[in-house]
């Protein structure tokens, strides 16, 4: 599987609200289903067959090393430094260290940091930029990486 290709597709999709994406030729088939709903409980979202490959370019389908980062506050979710800045603090697929600021929660003109509490790779951003979030709502899904990776 061409993981580079998939990564670029995912990054492109991340800028849109596309929920379903499928491309196929005689050799390969890529199918991507994205859950963009604000529902906080996503653990039970059923992904159709063929998605696992797309979401995890490494080809792993084991989800035991998946880790959700939840909101530490009530407020608006911000992926970038400020309302004006457009560059997100972290991109999909990016590997982040423990303690890295990966988003902000904005509330009453104050910005609260959202830090990664593990060393891992960003698999999914579960809410949209600017969306209102509750305390404890999952924001990012990460794949935990061992320290030497």
């Amino acid at each position: 599987m061409d993981s580079k290709l998939i990564e670029s597709i995912l990054e492109a999709l991340d800028r849109t609200e596309t929920r379903y994406f499928k491309v196929e030729n005689s050799k390969k088939k890529i199918e991507i289903v994205r859950n963009l709903s604000s529902e906080s409980q996503r653990q039970d979202s059923q992904l159709p067959l063929g998605t696992q490959d797309a979401i995890m370019p490494d080809g792993q389908s084991d989800t035991s090393d998946h880790h959700d980062i939840t909101s530490p506050y009530v407020g608006f979710f911000r992926r970038s430094e400020s309302k004006e800045a457009t560059k997100p603090l972290v991109k999909l697929r990016e590997v982040v260290d423990e303690g890295k600021i990966i988003a902000y929660i904005q509330s009453m003109n104050l910005q609260y940091e959202v830090k990664s509490d593990i060393h891992g790779k960003i698999l999914e951003v579960l809410v949209e930029d600017g969306q209102a979030v509750e305390y404890d709502q999952p924001l990012f899904r990460l794949k935990a990486l061992s320290d030497d990776s």
């Binding site: 009530v74 407020g75 509330s107 009453m108 104050l110 209102a132 509750e134 305390y135 404890d136 709502q137």
Partner: protein
Amino acid sequence: MIKKILIANRGEIALRIIRTCKELGIQTVAVHSTADEHSLHRRFADEDVCIGPADSRKSYLHIPSIISAAEITGADAIHPGYGFLAENGQFAQICEENKIKFIGPTKEIIDLMGDKAMARKIMSDAGIPIIPGSDIVSNPMEGLKTAHSVGFPVIIKATAGGGGKGMRVVQSEYEFEEAFHLAQNEAEKAFHNPNVYIEKYFGKPRHIEIQILADGKGNVLHLGDRDCSIQRKHQKLIEESPSPFLDDKMRKVMGDAAIKGAKAAHYVGVGTVEFLVDSKGDFFFMEMNTRIQVEHPVSEFVTGIDLIREQIHVANGGKLKLKQSDVQFRGHAIECRINAENPFKDFTPSAGKVDSYHMPGGFGVRVDSHLYAEYVIPPYYDSLIAKLIVWGEDRKEAISKMSRSLDEFIIEGIHTTIPFHQQVMVEQGFQKGNYSTHYLEQFTLVDKKVDT
């Protein structure tokens, strides 16, 4: 006009407020901690927002989270209920700064009445009798002088205190100095404010309070009295209206005094003026509560006025539609606070799962509760799980109705104070209306359940 109210509270009072909002066609937002994920206020509100973890300091008491929840849901008003942020002047101010209507009085009034010494001064200046005593006393010598002038026994109280905390009774001058220092230290530790004052201590007083309703446009009504003398460690357990101790003349004098006090404080909204009444029938101002109170349903029963509705009406800038002469008192109401506590084991808290639940019903019976079968009572918050309120043509009928309603009230899986209330309802002193705030000291709970 208020369109959407966020209720910054939990439990029965959150539900109570949601109910009236629904009747008025006002949208509601429930906020909850992670420990209250399965609570009814969340289920019955139009929207709900999780604002923090179980620890109330990080959820129900965390002002930024509550304001933020109002912001993201577009709520234009906040009802604080009782407890938590209900009497936090700073919170009222922050709401106003964020263009959210705080359903309650202003920061200035809350702070004024929250400072016990200031409140005493305002009431005293308005001609309302206050308990003989002092302003803030900084040293034991000065305190002792007051103690002698009002006569022992005296009570040393923290100005920042309340709900029974930061108080010390002193019987004689020999104990005074030590007690004074202890009280100051306790006040400093509990409230970060060492200020204390001295008051005359009454042996067998009654706690009788007057419900006030004011629109901030010069109209102040009283909605009768509530006798809340049945207490345990300064926590009210049973309230009734009218008080069996007051005659019509005293009732009118106290009602007028409360109105005078509320006017002097430029009060707005619902409030309660608490009086201590001694065995001779003399009454003294204790404090004014600037919130809706737990026991408000007894006043609703005898007056037929929905106090939450009036609170919202006044918050909307509305003028009171009633005059004092329109307020008609009818019959007698009693409330029993049902707590998740084991009355046979010194009222120790009893959190856990409610295995089965059955509410009493019938004419003149009201249950304000957030319980349901299989609900798990979290250990983090107040132990109040239900209020059972009954109305009867007279006190005798109300007591009889309360007894049979308690018998019908089934809450299994946890311990509750229902057996305690069952025994009080058949006790002679209570039935005669002969009790003081020390009632429980003489009351012996029989260690068996009354047959249900």
